[in-house]
Amino acid sequence: MLNEKIHTGPVETPKTVQETAPVVELPVQYPKSESNAQDIVKVVNLSKQFDGIEVLRDINLTIKKGDVVSILGSSGSGKSTLLRCMNWLEQPERGSIHLGDERIGINPATRKPLKYKELAKIRERIGMVFQSFNLWPHLTVLRNVMEALLHVKKMPKVEAEKIARAQLEKVGMSHKLDSYPSMLSGGQKQRVAIARALAMEPEVLLFDEPTSALDPELVDEVLTVMQSLSKEGYTMVVVTHEMEFARNVSSQVVFLEKGILIEKCPPEKFFTHPDSPRVRQFLKLDGA
């Protein structure tokens, strides 16, 4: 509306035109006006290929503050790839991903890839928990959690240690501060990995099949921690095969099939009367 007025209004002097020019361009460069303040992550028309095979097709997904989104789908459906695109561990060919008002991976003004350092700045705000834990084996539990605080946030040691101890307490790992990752069980490792992600105070937490590498007995201790995080209001995106978790903890369930998002709804609907026949089949809802 504003733009129209400027364009249709009488052009008086070249000076006025110059002054108004930046105002005209602003909405084009920064699509702030479209995004809701509550939207933490926004995925728009995302497509990704691996060697010519499309693994993600035109994905659209908005994640609001406090949302716990479970991404379900059979193996190879592209769910992990979608999650990894969200912090640019994988680079999509088309579409865009936004964290708050910032675009991830691409400079919106120049349309060129972000420099590694600029990317790192955004990644600081996104926590990630991996299937295979990916703890640093040469560091103790406490140091694993402190490391990014010290060397990414450049925090003083005393402060970093305080935060690390508090986060490890939260995940129930205070008794293992001086252990090395090789001495821990899978469930313990994953809880340390969660503490490591939490310590950075991320705006969103990404979980890439956090319980898939665990013994069935150890799954619960990790899920319990994740459930308590959701109660604290953390925004979480969880790629998982744990149906119980998706059903009881998440606020949205997303189903991917061959790289296409075919269902997105609250868990109550997803697990009882989903729209897609494929989801009904996946959940064996139709019997037989």
Binding site: I122, F130, A148, H151, R196
Partner: protein, 221 residues
């Protein structure tokens, strides 16, 4: 006068030879270690062109006999107007040669590292440099300890070649004594013993470090 008494009388030559060998080995291994780490960094973060040329240089250096490199630096370079004393030429050739070997060791270990660790660092917002210094290097070094010890012993033994470009190290000392007094057996036995002393020290230090690392299941940085 027995042969061993001659050796004892001429001990000054052996002592200074031992000093030179140790100095060459010590400075050379530190310099080649630093070179190896630096080369690994360029392989990690350099552009494709840089990586390609680093690998080319490494392969050229590794396929070169060490003695030729020492000859080239000491006898060849003066022709191009670059002169240095035998010790310096020896030290530089030792560092260059073993630096590329160190890099090759690190490169192999680096390839075997689980990429998840680096991804975790990336996801936490680590810069490339910090990922290298805080995550890659500690892991690579801890895992390559036995290979490093082995390379250090080869480095020590390569100092013996430098007697040919007139560096007064252990082998040169033994050689001068045996040719003056015609007691090659005794002279070379002493030389061997002196090399053993340094080698055993290297082995011990590496064993102690390795034990510490294993106690902690791949330990501290």
């Amino acid at each position: 006068m027995t042969e061993w008494e001659i050796i004892w009388q001429q001990r000054e030559i052996f002592i200074s030879g031992f000093g030179n060998t140790f100095a060459l080995f010590f400075a050379g291994s530190i310099a080649s270690f630093i070179l190896g780490v630096t080369l690994l960094y360029t392989l990690e973060n350099g552009s494709k062109g840089v990586k390609g040329s680093v690998i080319l240089v490494i392969n050229m250096m590794r396929t070169l006999p060490f003695l030729i490199l020492a000859y080239l630096l000491y006898y060849g370079l003066p022709q191009a107007g670059i002169r240095m004393d035998a010790f310096t030429a020896g030290l530089i050739s030792l560092s260059l040669y073993h630096g590329t070997y160190f890099c090759e060791i690190f490169r192999g270990i680096r390839k075997g590292l689980d990429s998840g660790q680096m991804e975790a660092a990336q996801a936490c917002g680590f810069s490339r440099f910090k990922t290298f210094t805080r995550i890659i290097i500690p892991n690579v070094l801890l895992r390559s300890l036995p290979l490093i010890a082995n390379q250090l012993i080869i480095c020590l033994k390569d100092t013996a070649f430098l007697c040919i470009i007139t560096v007064g190290e252990i082998t040169a000392a033994a050689n001068s004594i045996q040719s003056t007094y015609f007691i090659p057996l005794n002279a070379f036995i002493v030389a061997i013993a002196l090399y053993w002393i340094i080698s055993i020290a290297i082995e011990q230090v590496s064993k102690i470090t390795l034990n510490k690392v294993q106690d902690r299941g791949l330990s501290h940085a």
